[in-house]
Amino acid sequence: MSDNGKFEPRIVGFVCNWCTYAAADTAGISRLQQPPNVDVVRVMCSGRVDPVFILKAFAEGADGVIVSGCHPPGDCHYNSGNYKTFRRMPLIERLLEQYGIEKGRFHWGWISGAEAPKWAQLTRDFTEQVRNLGPLNWKRMFASKEE
């Protein structure tokens, strides 16, 4: 929460080294306008993104999570790492929903190394979207709601 009372969401982005991280890097090099709300955790492949990471991020207090890798079918640096991503993510999406975490707080998708503007756009749009959803603050929820 910043001084002016405006809610600033905390977002964790799990991005693959070859596509989305490269895009994020390029976006930075290119000085594309991005909100600072997204903290990037680099993994080698979106297939490395263990559901635990996502849960952990929310548990730690993230208001939103992004998982992004290379475009299937063929963009993946590791041929088919992103296949595992698209097999896991729909299920996690449902799990999170069941946990009461709105769909809008979790984004997964594909951004190739050539799509720096798309990354910048995503961070802007997603931050705005999470901002509109308000704080999640899982830990505080525990503290405040339990006697």
Partner: protein, 322 residues
């Protein structure tokens, strides 16, 4: 009680089904050996003890306390603190004390909705005045206090310092005996260890033949009659075995019932449900996003499926409140 050199044993039953108590009886004739080597100072389910008797004991009087059940109410929590104080060794006994267990699935709801369901909505309830439990009540005889019902089920470890964890729903008798033997011999592992279980998962003990996994469709147990020699997971049944600590002897898979995960997370797991979810979804035989979403979309109730015993001890503990 006289100090006769016997092991002073305490047993307590918090939020649980009582199966853990039965598991102790399941020791059968060995229970006599227990009697020979131990004095049971506190076992409300079997003998008449009052809390004040325990309170009257000096701190650390009890050598070992086997505490089963999750922390559902203020009474549970109170006893957890009490037993900790009076016991040298506090053991979270069984899945509920260890990881929340089946009562932990109540974390899918909150107190309000549980009360409404239990006291108002359930078809067998006749409660025209809509009376819900109160923590205190002014009766003609005086004020009556009943324990507070918490919003969230917790594990024993989440409210008190625990020395050992003995998983299982219920813990297998041979594992209980092994722990008792270890206690008697004084050959105890480092504090905080999981005892009475293996380092490997259920698969290690499972006799079914496993292949590389490529799953086209998930089934629920009533939907197919599985091959009795092949891995149930390979056949599309969601078996928690790969993500569950072994030690039970793979009892359920042996009778073609997929493992339900009662022994809790494997040693290096961070979150049992997430680990199982990741394994299950990764081996879906889908090469397009649409197909993958369709196949995993058929899995009902993800939390209930993947966190059947471990919701309170999971990373997120419970569903979101308010």
């Amino acid at each position: 009680m006289p100090d006769n050199g016997k092991l002073k044993l305490g047993l307590y039953w918090a939020a649980s089904c009582g199966g853990c108590e039965i598991a102790i009886v399941e020791l059968r004739e060995k229970i006599l050996i227990v009697d020979q080597v131990a004095d049971i100072l506190f076992w409300p389910v079997a003998m008449d003890f009052k809390y004040k008797d325990v309170e009257a004991m000096p701190d650390g009087h009890i050598d070992v306390c086997l505490f089963n059940g999750a922390i559902r109410t203020s009474e549970n929590e109170h006893l957890a603190h009490l037993m900790r104080r009076k016991s040298k060794v506090l053991v979270a006994f069984g899945s509920c004390a260890y990881e929340g267990g089946i009562p932990g699935l109540a974390n899918l709801f909150d107190r309000q909705s549980i009360f409404e369901r239990a006291y108002l909505e359930s078809p067998s309830t006749d409660n025209p005045q809509g009376i819900l439990p109160q923590t205190s009540y002014q009766a003609p005889e005086g004020e009556i206090h009943i324990p507070k019902f918490y919003n969230t089920v917790k594990t024993l470890g989440q409210v008190e310092d625990v020395d050992y964890y003995l998983p299982g729903c219920p813990p297998q008798p041979h594992q209980i005996w092994a722990v008792i033997e270890a206690i008697l011999s004084g050959n105890l592992p480092p504090k905080g260890s999981v005892v009475g279980a293996n380092d490997k998962t259920v698969c290690d003990e499972c006799k079914h033949t496993r292949e590389e996994k490529r799953i086209k469709k998930f089934y629920r147990i009533h939907e197919i009659i599985p091959d009795t020699t092949q891995c149930l997971f390979d056949q599309g049944l969601i078996c928690a075995g790969p993500a569950t600590r072994g030690g039970c002897g793979a009892l359920c898979p042996q009778v073609n019932m997929p493992c339900r995960g009662c022994y809790g997370p494997a040693p290096h797991q961070i979150d049992q449900g997430a680990a199982l979810l990741s394994a299950v979804s990764s081996v879906v035989a889908a090469d397009t996003e649409e197909e993958a979403a369709r196949i995993v979309g058929e899995i009902a109730d993800p939390i209930g499926t993947f966190y059947r015993f471990s919701l309170p001890s999971s990373l997120l503990h419970r569903v979101r409140l308010g």
